[in-house]
């Protein structure tokens, strides 16, 4: 039995392998993206692994496999579950034959997400069991448990790590495979797989009967833990379990005599492990619930205390003792626990020398050489004199909202740029409405929106930023690249052909790194909106999937305008003594700065200059 140093997401992938998973699907999304590639990298060959076009598709592919009796896993981030909600809600009624684990990574903070939604609450809504791991090593073991429970009860289960578990690393002891991938299963035809109102009604009753049974099982589940004695109780979950442990150790190290208290960790929040919770509540006066996102456990305990008429005060988010939004921290949890236990909290503020230099904020930016920057500049320049609205979407190009580009006026969710531009057009028909969308997002949920615009004759300009990869989440392939997670190369799905096929009359491709040509293409596309939807596809690969060109250099004598600094926001261009200077460790040679320089002061580094 080997021990490996693994990221939480890698542990989840290897846990699924050990559990004999046969089909793994998903759509990339931080913090979930590394799970599926881990399975792919260690695929003994009998596991089907695919990046699906979106989360709904991914969940349905996995559901089909699980209905046939194979073990299946689907991975996504929390907002991906919104996309997959339709099949998931219905699948909860139909159930599965092979174990099916729906991994949904939540992102308290949020660090890289649109929402702070809580998948535990989705478990309550969809009536599905939820596992909530606290560490990579636990996640490994828990995935195996999740498959087992899913298969035994014939229900899909939700597996919900959060960012700090997904992207935390620890040594993980790996097991021998506990189950062989079921290669010989076969779909058994049966009316149970066809959802109808009557069946849903009958299955609804079964689900309501099953949940208390699973709750009872969960009360004895190995990762639900109850310890301690006393009239005070602390409850926690997930990564906050570590923060609570750290906080108690910090308070103990300060020499505080901590009052007796019970400690409950809830690893399976739904169905709530009632018997275990009642054991915990027995004899308590006050409880502090330390959790992230929704006050899920807090509400369950309040409900339980009410049901049993227990005179217990439940403190947490509603009472203002735990923050309602954002990530918990060791500091905040230590302060909350110190207050709850009636001991003095430490001051975490380290003494600092007074005059700290002022630090500029360092938000994420488009990379030096990023073709999205060129595309944004081309559209911006072409539309200098026209009232235009720029609807954005989800991907690296959302970063185009930052100054000085300022080219993203709206961003809602995957695919919404194309459709929101249509609503914007309806109320402001005299403006030009652009919708920027990346290649992977186009396949994910852009196509239906374009069809809607064609059908309803809404003249928007769709700008596809095709950089030949899913860049933000770590360079995953997609239908437009043709590469698959099984090693085979498929026929690439051509975006221009798709657009023409769904009725877009004006479809043009151009290279965004050629500014003048791109601006002319933008003008043509805008002109073509008199006939309906127009599409412009900017094709230029992400700098992370293509080698750099020659670096560039600024002739300081000629440098006057600073257009490159003022207009581009390129991380490779610095301002030194009032002149632009290019950092050639970052420059990718996109040539954009040279094209916009009004004094012709920027040119490629010649071989002589490289050697010199």
């Amino acid at each position: 039995m080997a021990t490996e140093f693994l990221m939480g997401n890698e542990a989840i992938g290897l846990g699924a392998l050990a559990a004999g998973v046969r089909v793994v699907t998903g759509y990339p999304g931080t913090p979930s993206s590394e799970i599926l590639p881990t399975v792919s990298a260690r695929n003994p060959g009998n596991i089907h692994v695919e990046w699906s076009v979106n989360e709904k598709v991914a969940l349905e592919v996995a559901a089909g496999a699980a209905m046939a009796g194979a073990r299946a896993m689907v991975t996504m981030k929390q907002v991906g579950l919104n996309v997959a909600a339709d099949p998931l809600m219905s699948l909860a009624y139909l159930g599965v034959k092979g174990g099916m684990v729906v991994v949904v990574a939540d992102d308290p903070g949020p660090i890289s997400s649109q929402t702070e939604q809580d998948t535990r609450t989705f478990g309550l809504f969809s009536k599905l069991p939820v596992f909530d791991p606290a560490s990579p090593e636990e996640a490994y073991e828990m995935v195996i448990d999740a498959f087992e429970l899913s298969e035994r009860h014939g229900t899909p289960v939700l597996f919900r790590p959060t960012t700090r578990v997904c992207h935390g690393n620890a040594p993980v002891a790996l097991r021998e495979s506990v189950a062989a991938a079921s290669a010989t299963v076969r779909f058994a035809k049966d009316p149970r797989w066809v959802i109808f109102p009557r069946l849903s009604y009958e299955n609804h009753i079964k689900i309501e009967q099953r949940l208390p049974v699973i709750a009872e099982e969960f009360s004895s589940y190995r990762f639900n833990a109850l310890a301690g004695e006393g009239r005070l109780g602390i409850v926690t979950q997930g990564i906050s379990t570590g923060y609570v442990g750290e906080a108690l150790a910090i308070l103990g190290d300060l020499g505080h005599q901590l009052p007796a208290h019970k400690l409950l960790r809830v690893a399976t929040p739904h169905p709530f492990p009632k018997r275990l919770a009642l054991d915990f509540l027995d004899g308590l006066d006050r409880i502090l619930v330390v959790e992230e996102l929704d006050p899920f456990i807090e509400r369950e305990l309040q409900r339980l205390a009410g049901e049993k008429h227990l005179p217990i005060t439940v403190l947490g988010k509603a009472s203002g003792h735990i923050q309602v939004a954002g990530e918990n921290t060791v500091v905040a949890v230590t302060q909350a626990i110190a207050g709850f236990l009636g001991v003095e909290a430490p001051s975490f503020a380290a003494p600092m020398p007074a005059a700290a230099p002022e630090l500029a904020a360092r938000p994420p930016v488009l990379c030096a050489g990023c073709s999205h920057r060129s595309a944004f500049i081309a559209v911006k320049r072409a539309m200098r004199k026209r009232r235009s609205v720029f609807s954005g979407d989800i991907g690296c190009y959302t970063l185009g909202n930052a100054k000085p580009l300022d080219m993203v006026d709206t961003c809602l969710c995957m695919g919404a740029g194309i459709t929101m531009a249509q609503g914007l057009h309806v109320v402001e028909p005299n403006a030009v409405h652009f919708a920027f969308i990346g290649d992977s997002t186009f396949f994910h949920s852009g196509i239906t929106g374009v069809i809607n615009a064609v059908y309803n004759r809404t003249p928007i300009v769709v700008v596809v930023l095709d950089n030949a990869t899913t860049a933000m989440t770590g360079l995953q392939p997609h239908p437009g690249t043709g590469a698959t997670m099984m090693g085979a190369v498929s026929q690439k799905v051509d975006i221009a052909t798709v657009l023409r096929g769904i009725g877009v009359m004006h479809v043009e491709k151009c290279d965004p790194l050629k500014l003048e040509e791109s601006m002319a293409a933008v003008v043509r596309a805008v002109g073509a909106t008199s006939n309906g939807v127009a599409a412009l596809i900017f094709e230029s690969p992400c700098i992370h999937v293509t080698p750099p060109g020659p670096g560039y250099i600024v002739d300081a004598e000629a440098c006057e305008c600073k257009e490159c600094i003022i207009k581009l926001g390129c991380p490779a261009i610095l301002s030194v003594d009032g002149k632009a200077v290019i950092d050639n460790t970052l420059c990718y040679g996109c040539d954009l700065c040279a094209q916009i320089c009004m004094f012709d002061a920027i040119h490629p580094v010649s071989p002589a200059e490289v050697n010199g």
Binding site: M7, G168, A170, P171, I250, A350, R362, P364, L399, M472
Partner: protein, 199 residues
Amino acid sequence: MKANIVIAGVGGQGTVLAAKLVARAAMDAGLAVRTSETIGMAQRGGSVVSHVRISDAPIASPLMPPGAADTLLGFEPGEVVRCLHFLRPGGTVVVNPRTVAPVSAALNNTEYSGTAMIDYLHQCGCRLVVVDGDAICAEVGSTKVLNVALIGAAAAAGALGLTLGQVEDALRKSLRPKLIDMNVRALHTGARESAKGNP
């Protein structure tokens, strides 16, 4: 034995691999270790921070509170100053003095000086080890070895709770074969530079 290490830098500088190498060395030494990474949007040139916690006892949280770090390993001087609150009094800072100017600095025409950052670090009461990462990268012949050079410097300064040899072993086990020689050279060059002219 306990070593809490914060690694601060700019997305793309190789902080994630640095944390992984240190952790691997600790694991191979039979110690408990937890790390936490910044992965996602911030990797596009934003501020990134890794926490590495090593102990001979179980570790509860992968993230440490302010004032808990024994060592702050800085790939960029401004990012070190940004994370200085993590350092315990008297802790060690190993820093590469070369700045990566945030886009906002050029845009707002504000001065961003690495010297001012290093001067400030000299006043902060920490043990300061300044390691010229650019020079090491030039000597080794690759801009990609900054992370390993800084780890070598930190190990040689006794700031990791691990020996240089332990780190080298981990490096040899973790990297692809064709990258090993270059990185071992970077590790030892970093160690040499750290010993040279630093307290």
